[in-house]
C-alpha cells in the first residue's frame, strides 16, 4: 500500500443547519491522481478549501504530506499549490509579473529560468509580457496552471483545471499534468465536471453528493459496477440518486 499524501478523516463542515461536508474520509496515495466528482453543491470545493487551510472544518482531521493541516499548515503550504476558477490573478500585472510574485512567495531559486520553462511548456511565451486581464479565458486558465506549478508542488489541488480550454489545449494540459505527476511523483487531487478528463487522468474517483461520499473506485471499476458505458452515465445515476442496489457499496 502506497503512503498517503493526503488523508482526510471524518471531515465535517456545517454552516448553521446546512451540512456542506458530512463525515467525509478518504486517502490519496502518493504519486496518484484522485478525482473528486459531484454536482454543484456536492462539497468538492469545500473539501478542497479545507485541504488548503482556507476553510476551517467543524470537525475532522486532515493530514497532508504527514502534517496536520489544521495545526501546521505553514509546514506544508510551500510544497502544495492549487488552481481554481474562483480565484484569479491580478489582472493589471503581466503574466511574468504574476509568476514572479508567486515565485518569490514560494522562495524559488533561478526564478526567471523557471518562468521561461513553464511558459514554454504551457505555450505561454507569446503572452508573458501581456496583462493577465487581457488574455482569453483559455489563456488565463493556462496562466493559473503555470502559477499552480511554479513551485513544482508535491501535492497539487485542481478545481476545474481545464475549464475554458479548447479541446486541443485541454488535451495538452491534461497530458502535461499526467507527465508532471509521473516525472515528479506528485499527488494530484482534481475536482472536475469533465468526465472524459477524469476517466483519462484519474487513478481513483470519489463520488460526492450533498456533502457525502456515495461511491469510490477507479473509473473503469465504477463504470462496470453501475453497468454503464461512460463515467458520465455513472455521474448522472449518482447525481439523480438512481444508484442500483448492486452498486451501493
Amino acid at each position: 500500500m502506497l503512503e498517503a499524501a493526503i488523508s482526510v478523516e471524518a471531515l465535517v463542515k456545517r454552516y448553521g443547519d446546512v451540512v456542506a461536508v458530512d463525515s467525509v474520509s478518504f486517502d490519496v496515495p502518493r504519486g496518484t491522481t484522485l478525482g473528486l466528482l459531484g454536482g454543484n453543491g456536492a462539497g468538492k470545493t469545500t473539501t478542497i478549501s479545507i485541504l488548503l487551510g482556507l476553510l476551517l472544518p467543524t470537525s475532522g482531521r486532515v493530514t497532508v504530506l504527514g502534517e496536520d493541516i489544521l495545526a501546521h499548515r505553514f509546514r506544508v503550504l510551500g510544497r502544495m499549490n492549487f488552481s481554481s476558477p474562483y480565484v484569479e490573478l491580478p489582472h493589471r500585472l503581466t503574466v511574468r509579473e504574476n509568476l514572479t510574485v508567486f515565485g518569490h512567495l514560494y522562495g524559488l531559486p533561478k526564478l526567471s529560468a523557471r518562468i521561461e520553462k513553464l511558459a514554454a511548456d504551457l505555450d505561454l511565451l507569446p503572452f508573458l509580457d501581456r496583462a493577465t486581464g487581457k488574455l482569453s479565458a483559455g489563456q488565463k486558465t493556462r496562466v493559473a496552471l503555470a502559477k499552480a506549478l511554479i513551485n513544482e508542488p508535491e501535492v497539487l489541488l485542481l478545481d476545474e483545471p481545464t475549464a475554458s480550454l479548447d479541446p486541443d489545449t485541454a488535451d495538452t494540459a491534461r497530458r502535461y499534468l499526467t507527465d508532471y505527476r509521473d516525472r515528479t511523483g506528485a499527488t494530484i487531487l482534481l475536482a472536475s465536471h469533465n468526465m472524459p478528463e477524469v476517466e483519462r487522468v484519474c487513478d481513483d474517483v470519489v463520488m460526492m453528493r450533498a456533502g457525502r461520499i456515495v461511491d469510490r473506485g477507479p473509473p473503469r471499476v465504477l463504470i462496470e459496477r453501475y453497468g454503464r458505458e461512460t463515467l458520465e452515465d455513472v455521474f448522472l445515476d449518482i447525481a439523480r440518486d438512481r444508484r442500483r442496489e448492486a452498486a451501493i457499496p
Binding site: Y15, T45, T46, S49, L52, G53, L54, L55, L56, F74, L77, G78, M80, N81, F82, S84, Y86, V87, E88, L89, P90, H91, R92, L93, T94, E97, T100, V101, F102, H104, L105, Y106, G107, A131, K147
Partner: protein, 269 residues
C-alpha cells in the same frame, strides 16, 4: 539572519513588488497618490494666506494650518494606504492564492504596512514639496519632533487600517467605503485644526483617548510656542501600542472568522 528570516523578508517584499507592478501599470493610481494631499494642502495654504490678515492667532504662527493638513494626511494616507493595498487584493480576487501560499498573516500585514509607508511618503512628500514651492512653507521647520509626529500618526493610521481591513474581510466589498470614511470619525475629536479645549467636555474626554490628539496638540506647541511636549509624545506612543494591538487582534480575528465561514474564496459584493 536565519534562512527563515530571509525567506520571510522575501515573501513580504514579494507583496510589495506586486503593488509596485500594479502602480507601474496604472498612472491614475500614481496620480491619486499625490492628488488629494496636494489639493488639501493648496486649499489650506490659501486659507492661511487669507486668515493671516484677519487672525492674530494665524499671523503669529502661519505654518500651523499647513502643518496640520500635512500631518493629517500622514494619518489618513497611512490608514488608506493599508486598507487600499488590502482592497486591491480583494478587487483582483487574489486573496485565495495568497492565503494558500507560504505567506503568513503577519507577513501579509507587514507587507501592507510597508506598502502604506511608501504610499504615504510619496503622497505627503509630494504635497510637502509643493507647499514649499507655493507657500514658502517647509514641514521640516518642525524639526526633529516631526519624526515623532510622523511615526505616531502613521502607526495610528495602520491600526485603524487593520480594523477596517478586517471589517471588509468580514463584510465583503459592500463595506469598502469604510476605507475612506472611517478615519473621518476621529477627525473632529483629534483637534487637527483647532485646540481640543474648544470641544464640549464629553468630546474632550474622547479626544484624550486618541494618539492623534496629542500629536496635533504637540504640533501646535512646537509651531506656536516653540516647545516640544515630550509628555504628549509619551501619551501618544502609549495609546498607539494599545490601538496597534487592537488593530492586529481585530484583523486576525476577522481572518479566522473568514476562514470559518468560507469567505476568502467568495469574497466580493
Amino acid at each position: 539572519m536565519t534562512a527563515e528570516a530571509i525567506a520571510s523578508a522575501r515573501r513580504i517584499l514579494a507583496i510589495v513588488l506586486r503593488h509596485f507592478y500594479l502602480y507601474r501599470s496604472s498612472w491614475p493610481r500614481v496620480v491619486e497618490l499625490v492628488y488629494w494631499p496636494t489639493m488639501q494642502m493648496a486649499l489650506w495654504g490659501f486659507i492661511t494666506l487669507f486668515l493671516i490678515t484677519k487672525s492674530s492667532w494665524i499671523a503669529q504662527a502661519a505654518g500651523v494650518l499647513l502643518s496640520a493638513v500635512l500631518l493629517w494626511d500622514v494619518l489618513f494616507r497611512g490608514q488608506l494606504g493599508l486598507s487600499l493595498s488590502f482592497l486591491e487584493e480583494m478587487w483582483s480576487r487574489n486573496l485565495g492564492h495568497l492565503f494558500v501560499s507560504p505567506l503568513r498573516p503577519a507577513e501579509f500585514v507587514a507587507a501592507l504596512v510597508l506598502a502604506s509607508l511608501i504610499r504615504t511618503v510619496i503622497g505627503v512628500g509630494g504635497a510637502s514639496i509643493l507647499a514649499y514651492a507655493m507657500f514658502d512653507y517647509s514641514i521640516l521647520s518642525l524639526g526633529l519632533p516631526l519624526i515623532a509626529f510622523f511615526l505616531n500618526l502613521i502607526v495610528f493610521g495602520w491600526s485603524i487600517g487593520l480594523m477596517v481591513s478586517g471589517l471588509i474581510l468580514r463584510h465583503g466589498q459592500g463595506a469598502e467605503s469604510l476605507a475612506w470614511a472611517a478615519i473621518f470619525l476621529i477627525q473632529p475629536v483629534s483637534g487637527v485644526y483647532y485646540p481640543i479645549d474648544v470641544l464640549p467636555e464629553v468630546l474632550q474626554a474622547v479626544s484624550k483617548g486618541l494618539p492623534s490628539s496629542y500629536v496635533f496638540e504637540g504640533m501646535r506647541a512646537v509651531v506656536i510656542d516653540g516647545v516640544f511636549r515630550s509628555d504628549f509624545l509619551a501619551y501618544a506612543a502609549g495609546l498607539n501600542l494599545v490601538y496597534l494591538a487592537i488593530g492586529a487582534a481585530s484583523f486576525v480575528a476577522h481572518l479566522r472568522l473568514a476562514r470559518n465561514r468560507g469567505l476568502i474564496l467568495q469574497i466580493g459584493e
